[in-house]
């Protein structure tokens, strides 16, 4: 159903891709083909550049030559200005890909003497279009005519005619206009150009500037309606779509180790999900960076690329500090698996940070990105802006299946379970580090606050920094709460002692039983002996009795013999024997 709809949409309105990064995404394909588009905004917001990039990209990427009619800058100035952005206009002009025409009017040179029209402008434009077979036209800034020509009535009528003429000509046009007080443009150009209106804005907030773009109107097409930040760097214009990435990213079931065995165990024994977002938050000095460094090292050991943005420490300082807990990062840097990007958050605006992140990530193609820490962005900027920026970073990284680890410093006063930048909802796995003050000691504890999609441990573990890295210990829960540090050691000793006494008890009991068994056995032996002696006595008596019986019989036989009685043969022989 949706596909059919979009097909219909494509049939009804064809679009010309601008080639401007991100812009084609938010307009679903670019500017309306064969129609004029109004680009308006204040001074220095990038209108001319937008138009110029539209032409240059059209000429180089989409094989659509273009005409740039400038009412402000001369051809020479224009060529020079855009050369700094990597556009070689001279070459394009030579190859008949782009035509420049500078229109200059000087009020003082002109005398009005009756009826006239702007046919001259039409002729010039027509000539320029036909000479290179242009499909795209930029008029920058046509409002300058209002300053040069006294008769507004004629001018307005002619402008109306011009835009109709452009439509008839079938060229995709951009008309730029200076922003007015209450209207979109100073001279109300939006009256004439009503198909597509794009507004550019350049705001300075707390000394850092942010450029924004908004599609005010796009007749006959769906478009993103938000204000999208954009930037102008050496690669030209790039618009950063906030929501176009959406929540459609592919998810992975693969798990990767956090680099800390016991932490992995807390996360079902497997570690983080690949492509998930991990937040390590905690108060100062609890070891957030150490967890990040462990993760980086583990990823490097797997042969994955890691991009580490440090906003507080220089890479060298970080490497040195991590060496003290036994994490060697330097070899990975030399191997090219680990790349550090150290900039102060205040160095440039949020959008620039975002763009830089985009650019470096696209170039380096890491599997893991670490931002350490994120809350430094909040300085000077509004939280909501930081949040949207981080959201865009998260979206972008997720879309690219990059596992991200952010660290965030929680200040002492604020609630532990809220991150300063309010991005908790974006986070998949949240590790919370806290210090536990007890018995005049300050120790570190760690627990998994949440971890989407896994049965994570709910235990608080003691977090110890040793010279061979981070160690997690089972924490003791005593009557006064979690026991850590020396309290834990004492508790451990206590328990050990208890175990020892129990062991002794058992030994003793064992011995007792042994003894009892031995006595019993001795008794049994004595009884046996008694019995044996009785038995032998009895048998002796039996023998004597039997002997007596034999003797009596013998006597009987002898008596019979002497009486010469008949004796059975058998009996005699028996007796003889």
């Amino acid at each position: 159903m949706k596909k059919a709809e979009s097909k219909l949409l494509n049939q009804t309105l064809s679009k010309s891709p601008t080639g401007i990064q991100g812009f084609d995404e938010i307009t679903n394909g670019g500017l309306p083909t064969g129609r004029p588009t109004l680009v308006c905004g204040g001074a220095g917001c990038g209108k001319t550049l937008f138009g110029m990039e539209f032409l240059v990209r059209g000429a180089t990427q989409f094989n659509e030559p273009g005409v740039f009619m400038s009412f402000e800058e001369t051809n020479k100035e224009l060529t020079k200005n855009v050369a700094s952005l990597g556009f070689d206009l001279e070459d394009l002009i030579k190859n008949k890909k782009i035509a420049l025409d500078h229109v200059h009017i000087e009020r003082s040179e002109i005398e009005e003497t009756g009826e006239y029209d702007l046919e001259g402008l039409f002729v010039r434009l027509n000539y320029a279009i036909d000479s290179i077979g242009a499909k795209r036209v930029v008029l920058d800034t046509i409002e300058s005519l209002f300053a040069g020509l006294p008769n507004q009535l004629i001018l307005r009528a002619e402008l109306r005619r011009l835009f109709h003429w452009l439509k008839d000509k079938g060229v995709t046009a951009i008309i730029t206009g200076e922003r007015g007080e209450e209207t979109l443009t100073r001279q109300g150009l939006e009256e004439y150009v009503s198909d597509c209106v794009i507004m550019l804005d350049h705001r300075v907030n707390e000394q850092t500037s942010t450029r924004r773009l908004r599609v005010v109107k796009y007749r006959g097409s769906m478009h993103g309606t938000n204000e999208y930040p954009f930037l102008i760097d050496e690669n030209g214009f790039s618009v950063l779509p906030v929501t176009s990435l959406g929540l459609k990213h592919i998810v992975s079931n693969k798990r990767i180790s956090s680099g800390i065995t016991l932490l992995d165990k807390m996360l079902e024994g497997k570690g983080y999900y690949r492509g998930s977002t991990v937040l390590v938050s905690g108060t100062a000095g609890v070891g957030k960076t150490s967890i990040a460094a462990h993760f980086a090292e583990a990823a490097c050991k797997r042969g994955e690329r890691v991009l580490y943005f440090c906003f507080e420490e220089s890479p060298n300082q970080l490497i040195r500090n991590m060496l003290s807990i036994g994490i060697k990062l330097e070899p990975w840097v030399r191997k090219g698996l680990l790349q550090f990007q150290a900039t102060r958050p205040t160095f440039y605006g949020l959008e620039m940070h975002l763009a830089v992140t985009h650019k470096i990530v696209s170039a380096f193609k890491p599997a893991v990105v670490i931002l350490d820490p994120i809350n430094t962005f909040v300085i000077g900027d509004k939280e909501s802006e930081v949040k949207t920026m981080l959201m865009r970073i998260v979206d972008f990284l997720k879309a690219n299946q990059i596992t991200a680890l952010f660290t965030s410093l929680t200040s002492g006063e604020s609630a532990l379970e809220s991150s300063d930048v309010g991005i908790s909802s974006l986070i998949d796995t949240w590790l919370l580090l806290r210090d536990i003050e007890l018995n005049g000691e300050r120790n570190r504890g760690m627990y998994v606050l949440k971890s989407r999609g896994m049965a994570n441990s709910n235990q608080i573990r003691e977090f110890i920094l040793t010279d061979h890295g981070v160690e997690l210990r089972e924490a003791y829960i005593g009557a006064s709460g979690v026991l850590t540090g020396s309290a834990r050691v004492a508790q451990e000793a206590l328990e050990n002692a208890e175990v020892l006494t129990r062991k002794h008890d058992i030994e003793r009991k064992k011995r007792e039983i042994e003894r009892k068994r031995k006595t019993l056995e001795a008794q049994i032996a004595a009884l046996h002996a008694d019995f044996a002696s009785e038995e032998s006595e009895a048998s002796k008596m039996i023998e004597t009795e039997q002997d007596m019986i034999k003797r009596l019989e013998q006597d009987k036989i002898e008596m019979a013999v002497s009486r010469k009685a008949v004796i059975e043969k058998g009996t005699t022989s028996k007796l003889k024997k």
Partner: protein, 113 residues
């Protein structure tokens, strides 16, 4: 009154080369096809030149429909446009030249009212 006179004297002085008989006026009339406006402009121009310049002039009519590339040379936007190439400085007069007084002002031909 005196001041005004001085002013106009100055202007005449400035335009002295214009008044010398050897100097020839070079005028260009830009049009786009034989539109009514173009024809009116040409007729008006011819009349003014006859009256004011005593034959010391040349008029070149450029039809941008035939030679569109010539438009940018003189920065032509409005049509018809009359360009005074000589004497310098270059002056531009737009419209059908029906307002004779303004044409004369534009051409610096008004001899101090």
């Amino acid at each position: 009154m005196k001041l005004k006179k001085e002013n106009s004297d100055k202007r005449i002085k400035k335009e002295k080369p214009v008044k010398t008989p050897d100097d020839k006026w070079v005028l260009r009339l830009y049009v786009a096809g034989q539109t009514p406006k173009a024809l009116t402009a040409f007729t008006n121009l011819k009349k003014i030149c006859e009256e004011q310049l005593n034959g010391k002039y040349s008029i070149e009519v450029i039809d941008l429909l035939i030679n569109p590339q010539l438009g940018s040379e003189d920065q032509i936007l409005a049509l018809p446009t009359l360009v005074r190439k000589l004497p310098v400085p270059v002056r531009k007069i737009i419209g059908d030249l029906s307002n004779t007084e303004r044409v004369l002002v534009g051409l610096d031909l008004l001899p101090g009212c």
